[in-house]
Symmetry: C2
Subunit: 258 residues, 2 copies
């Protein structure tokens, strides 16, 4: 099977011009087919602030009312996505920017209100990769913004880690998929105080132990849940690393094992 | 040759929720392959105002400094484009939103500074339709925002009428292309005071006469220049009409003839 690398990069990396250009150069240099999934939360918060819209976060997730939905649609699908696409084109990669609405790539349902009303936030329902595969096979490089649609005409705000995982699982039927989560640290740490204490192989049972003892906490937990879920569903390799690690051919960072 | 209809709709229609939904329903009902090119100027002006960015227009064209470029990228490629895509998906059309940067569809050069510095405004240089044809032939419906790129990593603001014309010319080698410019009036008027005085057939020489006598003026002139240019370059039919005229199978509005 052909290899497909799906790289998810967080907001901080893609929102700083210098680190973005370095990241994109490294990304373009990856062998084989590739997809980039990006965030953009910091820019969204900044634009919302400039527009006088208050940003409300609950457990790291953005409460997305109608006005905030407009902001994230503008920032993620417009500003961040198209600047990445234009930069990739300049680097010789035939990029195409997409949200979950384009080509009906990722359909979601508006998250049901339980204790918290997250607003226009989408939980992934289905992934449809047919047309995208045709493009991939012509060396087109999809750049995916963290937005889905509900099939009823509404865009929905969706976590980029989750979208990367959902895409990886859907493509695992057709390609040998490597999923790389790029973030600030070198990998998952066994000591939160020591940036070099990278866990090289993290099994699911070890993850659960670290989670119970509090070594792994907060934002890392949903990321790892997404990663292990992908691994369980046929994705060949899931790596958590920083942008430096992207160049190491899978040797740096934390490698998830089931 | 297969038929391809390219519809360009102005900002006012796509920025009013009710008229947008009606337009999209009529657009989806068109037979054959189709592409929608949209504006979004009114929303851009509104968002710019909310962000405290002054809008400067010269002869109907937006002066696009760096901050304004960010606004139009957010509004055209994000807010307006993705809402259209999501609405089309809800109506059963497999839409994909694009700018000129995506798939390297339309490359432009930053307009040289003569009397006026338009800023980050792009004049169309080349159109590359290869991958888009593959998608069209799979019944995908492209939705194109009025933005191009310079091949050096920068987005550029580009007139939607010009983009529609450039796409029509590029596709004319492969399809029988009908180009429809939708705007507020029923067609080109022989009497600016009488909305029913629609010129049914407008030849290029008649256009030049009306232009000299002042009957046709202002924003209509570049639109007609674009239209006649398309006709001269192999586009089968160019019609100027309102959204009602879109349903008439080419019988309403003004038909350009060379």
């Amino acid at each position: 099977m052909q290899q497909l690398t799906i790289v998810k990069v967080g907001g901080k990396v893609v929102e700083t011009p210098e680190s973005l250009q370095q990241l994109l150069a490294d990304f373009v240099a990856l062998p084989g087919l590739k997809i980039l999934v990006h965030g953009g939360g910091r820019s969204a918060t900044k634009v919302a602030e400039q527009l006088g819209i208050e940003t409300k976060m609950v457990e790291g997730r953005r409460i997305t009312d109608m006005e905030t939905l407009k902001v994230v649609t503008m920032v993620y699908a417009g500003l961040v996505n198209k600047n990445i696409v234009a930069s990739l084109q300049a680097k010789g990669a035939n990029a195409i920017g997409l949200t979950g609405a384009d080509l009906n790539l990722i359909k979601a349902i508006k998250r049901p209100v339980k204790n918290i009303d997250y607003g226009y936030v989408g939980d992934v329902e289905s992934v449809q990769v047919g047309e995208l595969m045709e493009l991939l096979n012509k060396n087109v490089v999809p750049v995916v913004a963290p937005l889905t649609h509900d099939g009823l005409g509404n865009m929905l705000n969706t976590n980029a880690d989750t979208m990367a995982s959902a895409l990886a699982v859907a493509f695992a039927k057709h390609y040998q998929v490597n999923l790389v989560y790029c973030f600030e640290k070198k990998g998952v740490l066994s000591d939160p105080e020591n940036d070099d204490a990278v866990i090289q192989k993290l099994s699911h049972s070890l993850f659960k132990q670290y989670q119970q003892s509090g070594v792994i906490a907060e934002g890392m937990i949903p990321k790892l849940d997404n990663g292990f879920n992908a691994l369980k569903s046929g994705v060949a390799k899931v790596i958590i690393t920083n942008t430096e690690g992207l160049k190491s051919d899978g040797e740096a960072g934390t490698d998830l094992i089931w």
